[in-house]
Amino acid sequence: MKPAARWLLALAAVGISGVALARLEIEADVTQLLQTPAARALQTAERVFGLGERVVILVEAPAAGREADLLRCGRALVERLEAEEAIASATDGLGTSPDAFVDALLLPYGPLAADPDELEALLSPAGLRGQLEQQLERLSLLGAGQTEAWVERDPLDLHRFLVRRWRSLAAAYTIQPGRRELLDREGKALLVLASGTRGSQEPGAARAVVAAVDAARAAVLAEPWAQGLEVRATGGYHLAEESARVIQRDLIFSLSTSIALAALLLAWGLRLAPWMIGGLMLPTLWGTTVGAGVFALTRSSASAVAFGCTSVLIGLGIDFTIHLATAALAARAQGLDPQAAARDARRRNVGALVLATLTSASAFAAFAAADQGFLREMGWLTLCGLGTCLVGALWLAPPLLARMLRRPPSVAPRGGWLDALAQGAARRRGWVLSLTALLSLAVAALLWIRPPQLEDDLRKIHARNSEPLAVQARVSEVFGGTQDAVFVVLEGASEAEVVAACQRLEGPLASWMRRGLLRARVSIAALIPPLEAQREALAVLARHPRLEAELTEALDDVGFARDAFGDYPARLGAAAEAAPLTPAGLRAAGLSVLVDDLVRVKDGRAYAVVQVFPLTELWAGGARADTAAALRRVLTEAGVEGKLTGLPLVSAEAAEAVAADFLKICALTAGLVLVLLVVRFRHPLHVLCVLAPAALSTLWTAGLFSLTDERLNLMNLGVLPMVLALGIDDGIHLTHRSLAGDGVGTPRFRATLLGVLLTSLTTMLTFGSLALSENRGIASVGRLTLCGIALALLASVTVLPALLALRRGARLNIAPTSRDSAGAGEDVGSDA
């Protein structure tokens, strides 16, 4: 192919890739990545009730005494947020005040919320009189005010039965009793809640909601009365927006720094001018871009996490060019002309490169067996990129190399010290292998005692110093205990069915609360007593057919002015005729805001959610597992089919699911790689040689993780097979070179060693830059791969030469180690 046509074709491929990437939607919400039962239940809770999709705004005053400003700030924020297109609703309180709740339900529903025995005692003639006399005694207290108003409003204190229920509902927040607003007990903090018009996982939704909140905050804080107040926000939208922003920034930083650093490293290692290195990067950049484009052509959306492996692609892709470059430089140093040196390098390395690509590809192909979508995406993206990077290296690198090597190099490539190290290890192979065996046994023993732990806290894959997480912690601190509820999602054919299920859960949950295991539960059952209990209360009322007259007489007898109580006696008398309280009844009483958060009909199905607030945080594995197990027991005992969810449970299930996927991927990768190696090398020792760097680096990395308490998580587990593949690549190149007749100490083995060094260092640099990421998940990927590759390199230049020296007939060519005598050893043209 003519050079111009080659480059035009390459450019066209980049253009098509750019278009494909531009139309790809990026998902950043981690809960959307994990399709576990708890994650699906959470999605249902979000879809039906908007749970998890809320913005929680914390307004704080520097000191007490600014309650009026806090309340004003809350009202102003609500007003501004409701005017924003991205915001569906906003509130600064519980939807209704306890007074409004009592007013809406007092009669006829107050008596239906009472215990039947208590009601019977109250409604007897003696009970009525006793209650009214007690009210009179209360009126003897000093002064006049609200006591008189309450006695007039409800002389029988029926509101107490409703207040009990309200209290149990409001217990999820430690707020000032009697308030509708979510104001803390010290009067220094207020919560404002809002929900978005679109789900946080929808493109642009999180950014729009965060922008709306920021705008409202800025406008309100500009008011003179708001001076000194602090307004911060958290919730699903803010976490999603922060993750997307931080990951994008991390990736841009990682990509740009890794490219620059790799270029500088190559310039140093290959003794080439930096502009030449820029040219050498072209095949890799082309391969990465076109690979991502091929990936984008096959789907409409992808998770941001999957794109974390673009750094991996650059690290892997540049390896192909580096091996070609070191080989070409060695050939050029032997006197071949530039074109011949480039062709020689491609001819001698194509086998190793294809085999290395195949082993890496087998690792990523194994990702297809993962249950988690983002792992499959990561595997497919890297597979595409590997293929295109190989094409780029074999197709675009040789002509570039030929141009770069026109001037004969004044000195040989670096790597003399590596060669000396390898030769030393080969000479003292007994010592090296014994030490390796001892070290490995010690690490294995350590791992037996302290196996690496799985990180099951989803918060730890968010940004370091995450503002939404900090606000979440502050909200928990100010408003009491954990705000990370476990949701029990119930589904049924009708509202009556799901309400009855909630009521069956009440007994066990109440028992938990009495025993101090639960802080609160929020359930429709708190508002609606069981039908049976309501019927009993109605039966009690029916047994007092003269209730209106009896109450009026009692009021007269004790000295009250009956007219002051309006139609209270008549409404009490008619309460026996009331229909039992239902969600529809509550809505008709103007309490939709309360009810619709707990029970709702959607798409022809009825749903209820019970929010369970444990006493302790659920991010720790033990507490979470205990709580979940106990709740499942409650569901079973109550005969209720419900799904448990909530971010802590999603986190735990995600960790388990990813660990299971990881095991599956590793087993498949190992099998595929082994088959490939056996087919290629046939001899067990040769296969062992290839596998040694990867196997030892994995073992030692696991030991280091165990020692430093570094945890495996759903991000770094996903890249572990890549690390294995990279270690195997080192083994393939060195073993392949040795089997080709260029054993330890030969110029070509030395060139390959340099290639291994440079490929390892460039990969370590790309991953090293990931380790600096603000996002802790991405940073852990960097640390894991940095450690794994460094240890694979160590094994490749020490243990592998020692193993290769064990081969029958292996020939050590002990060459002078001067960096200027690259030509020493065997002839350039001697193929195996």
Binding site: R138, S140, V163, G187
Partner: protein
């Protein structure tokens, strides 16, 4: 039911902070400053009163007598009618407890850190600096007659319409409260003893065995 009304009345006898710097008439301001100064060193208080409540709820006025004893942040008030115990209130340790001797019941209310409920006696709610802003004040001083301070809340939603307080030598001798509901209360102060000896036992709520103790808001409870 809010207990704040009751409790804040009792807190009336605590020391007064300084006056607001603006708004009050010079005469009223000087009077209140002097009163605040006179009350600055109060450590304990014993107040005996007779209260007459004329409420639209009741067919006839309700007259009762009572004794309030205050020491530090603790308070005890007992009210009798026709010589028989009617109700007792004890405040301390973050709780207010109401004892109904005839019912054998104690109601317990937790005193949270929320905003103080509206007091019929705003001067006693502890923030005199705000008084001028929240109330229109009129002071009448005449030889041989008690000094009379009339306070009208500026907030139209206040349940209190007017409070008249009468003083002799800066001691409260009478309070008249009128509410917007049309109720009125007259409190005659029979004894106003500052820094009198108060035994801790006087501040305790002593109830007989078997008294039922219930939560004041929900009514839940059991016999003790």
């Amino acid at each position: 039911m809010k207990l704040g009304t009751v409790v804040l009345c009792a807190w009336a006898m605590t020391a007064l902070p300084s006056l607001a710097d603006e708004g009050a008439s010079p005469e009223a301001r000087a009077f209140l400053k002097e009163w605040a100064s006179a009350m600055a060193e109060v450590r304990s208080l014993r107040v005996r009163f007779t209260q007459t409540k004329t409420l639209r709820l009741l067919r006839k006025p309700r007259v009762s007598e009572g004794l309030t004893v205050l020491k530090g942040e603790r308070l005890h008030m007992s009210v009798t009618r026709d010589g028989a115990p009617e109700i007792e209130l004890a405040v301390g340790d973050g709780e207010a407890r109401l004892y109904y001797p005839k019912r054998g019941t104690v109601e317990v209310y937790t005193l949270d850190g929320g905003p103080p409920p509206e007091s019929p006696f705003p001067l006693f709610s502890g923030d005199v600096a705000e008084l001028e802003r929240t109330h229109a004040l009129t002071l009448t001083r005449a030889e041989g007659r008690p000094d009379e301070l009339v306070m009208v809340p500026r907030d139209p939603e206040s349940s209190t319409a007017k409070v008249v307080m009468r003083f002799r030598e800066f001691k409260v001798v009478e309070v008249e409260q009128t509410t917007r509901r049309g109720d009125s209360v007259r409190i005659e102060v029979k004894e106003f003893a500052v820094n009198a000896a108060v035994d801790d036992a006087e501040l305790e709520l002593a109830v007989p065995e078997g008294t039922k103790v219930v939560d004041g808001v929900s009514g839940r409870g059991a016999k003790r």
